[in-house]
Symmetry: C2
Subunit: 383 residues, 2 copies
């Protein structure tokens, strides 16, 4: 696992870099495992957050052979980690059929998502022509967020279902409660989770009533998956960000900031006496441009600042960021002050959005219980 | 140059991907060259935007041996391209001295930026101890944006100057008019450029009056560098985003959208009849989370949408983005409508911010005058 033979000090790392707290990460995995077990339902982790073979193996050991991916590159990179049943979440187009084919193997099956009759028909024709098996789910749109069929549009559901079923390619229906990220209390979240399940099972029932076998009824987002709601007819839950969590998830209420497993390690490079700010070498290139907490009750700028050992500095934020500079200050109006931080001091920044921040880095620096660096895990990017 | 022996069609590319229009790129380089020549001043391109050996070579051929970098990784990757005099723009800290040393060679000199006496003293002591030569500029802060010495703070300037001069390491002063990105008219831009030059030459004069040789008086940002202002005492101009331009630069008025050389090629994956949107396979992972035009007079969402051939679709924007999904619609309130775009159609998205969008990709797909793909240029990332 690229373990370091000898753990090394955090201070030996070149900054900025991405740090993964193994204790918190393991606790987050265990929490989801226990939620899924309590609900007695299969779980499919979304690997777009981690994009790591090490983490894919842990997911396979914990949750089984299912995985969700947001790119075909994730299938290519994560084959052979014990995951075999990949569900590609972005609606397929014919120009990607050949790429999907090139990934198929005895231990690598790829299910695609379809939301229109023409694409379903092209997929069916392609599979007949090439003698390949590329099963599909019908993507549902619960909230007008993006692609997908309205779950009440029985006509379109049945038209797509008929084409896929006729070609032996129909697996089921897939929904994602994208609007759950805009919520912030348990009641709203439970109601969102119920709606996600109700809409999805309605669509599944429409297909089943027409005689089409529906094996996969899959729903999920980290907030709704963790909401604890149980639903008849749903066969699978999905979630991705739960492996790390982030400030947006904390704002929704599904974790606390202390549960967040990744942070960006940065070095103080200057004290600006004119503006009362401390400047760090982590700008938006290291933190990402994600400002997901702006739309929540509490805005965390470009991230929550912690000391080198992970202690959260209440009300101390990265208030602004340029490409390679972060500006650290207390939140406007706060009575908190900055600790004394000379150039060379280390800080850790908890991200707004784990998927976006992790994507800015090509590896995780693992830290163990003692706070030392115990291993380095590569991550990949691209399509 | 990784030229394709045979140009291939744009439609043969896997999407999303980053496309570089060679005709526009060459025109942007020529424009800056002519501005610098007219002003009779040395020019130092900032390579943080392109992060490409191919583009570094073109810069070396056009502008000479000088280069600005935002990471030491850029020095490591761009050595041996004809550039020899690297200026590292992020204030140095002692934990990075060894890394700088490891990069030095007969054809690779690195100048660092310093804004405090303690770091200047540690640098001087390090150079004595290791017998290495790491010259430095004093970073100025013109607007309280980040690190740097106030140009009127003669006491601090002289204290740092004395330490660096005493060790034979002082090259000069460096400023960056970060606030130029918030402007939008020629008058304000000219005034900002004058202020940048005046503050920087004032600081240089303070050092020179104390008997310290100041060889490098360097200023710049793409907007101020292109403003056409000429200033006595300034020895060097810098700019980075000019190679590509972007919607933010267009909003400032230093280019037009038709000058923008990079775009993200995306495939239409769905039509959402409920929301009247077209969904593409370029989300924020391909476009970046940068929303730089929100603070300008006209907001372009996550980017301006063009047809496959580059024709700009007025008022058609990526209005929302998830990780791998972009939502394309006419601007709210616009009378424009979407053209007929079935799944499989290609679109190109002009970015808000070239540095941020390019950073999401590991290569450029070059397209020539005929619109075919003529070459692939890798780009790098990381620190």
């Amino acid at each position: 696992m690229n373990s370091n033979p000898q753990p090394k000090a955090l201070a030996s790392l070149l900054t900025p870099c991405l740090v993964l707290d193994e204790v918190k990460f393991n606790a987050n995995i265990a929490r989801l495992q226990s939620t899924a077990a309590r609900r007695g339902i299969a779980f499919r982790p979304h690997l777009k957050t981690a994009k790591s073979r090490h983490i894919a193996r842990i997911c396979a050991d914990t949750f089984g052979k299912r995985a969700m991916v947001s790119t075909l590159q994730e299938v290519e990179q994560l084959r052979g980690c014990g995951l075999e049943d990949f569900l590609y979440s972005v609606a397929i187009v014919p120009s990607k059929f050949e790429r999907v084919c090139s990934l198929l193997a005895a231990d690598c099956r790829v299910t695609v998502a379809v939301d229109s009759v023409p694409v379903a028909a092209e997929l069916a024709a392609f599979c007949v022509r090439t003698k390949k098996h590329i099963p599909a789910v019908i993507e549902l749109d619960l909230d007008g967020h993006r692609s997908g069929v309205a779950p009440t549009d029985a006509e379109l559901l049945l038209a797509i279902g008929e084409v896929l079923h006729g070609a032996g390619l129909l697996r089921g229906v897939m929904a994602h409660a994208g609007e759950s990220y805009e919520l912030a209390d348990d009641g709203a979240l439970a109601s969102c989770a119920r709606n996600e399940a109700d809409c999805t099972t309605l669509a599944a029932q429409t297909l089943q009533d027409a005689g089409f076998a529906v094996e996969l009824v899959t729903i999920g987002s980290t907030p709704t998956a963790l909401s604890g709601e149980t639903h008849r007819g749903v066969t699978e839950l999905r979630a991705g960000a739960f492996v790390f969590f982030d400030m947006v998830q904390a704002g929704i209420g599904v974790c606390e900031p202390k549960d967040i497993a990744i942070s960006v390690l940065a070095t103080v490079i200057a004290n600006n006496k004119q503006s009362g700010a401390v400047i760090i070498d982590a700008g938006w290139m290291a933190l990402s441009r994600d400002r997901g907490t702006t739309e929540q009750a509490v805005d965390f700028g470009y991230g929550q600042v912690c000391l080198e050992d992970g202690t959260i500095l209440e009300d101390v934020l990265v208030v602004d960021a340029q490409q390679e500079h972060g500006v650290v200050k207390p939140r406007a109006g706060s009575s908190k002050t900055l600790p004394d931080l000379a150039p060379g001091a280390l800080l850790r920044i908890l991200p707004n959005h784990a998927c976006a921040t992790a994507a800015q880095h090509d590896r995780y620096q693992l830290i163990g219980e003692a706070g030392d660096v115990t291993a380095e895990w590569p991550r990949f990017a691209g399509w």
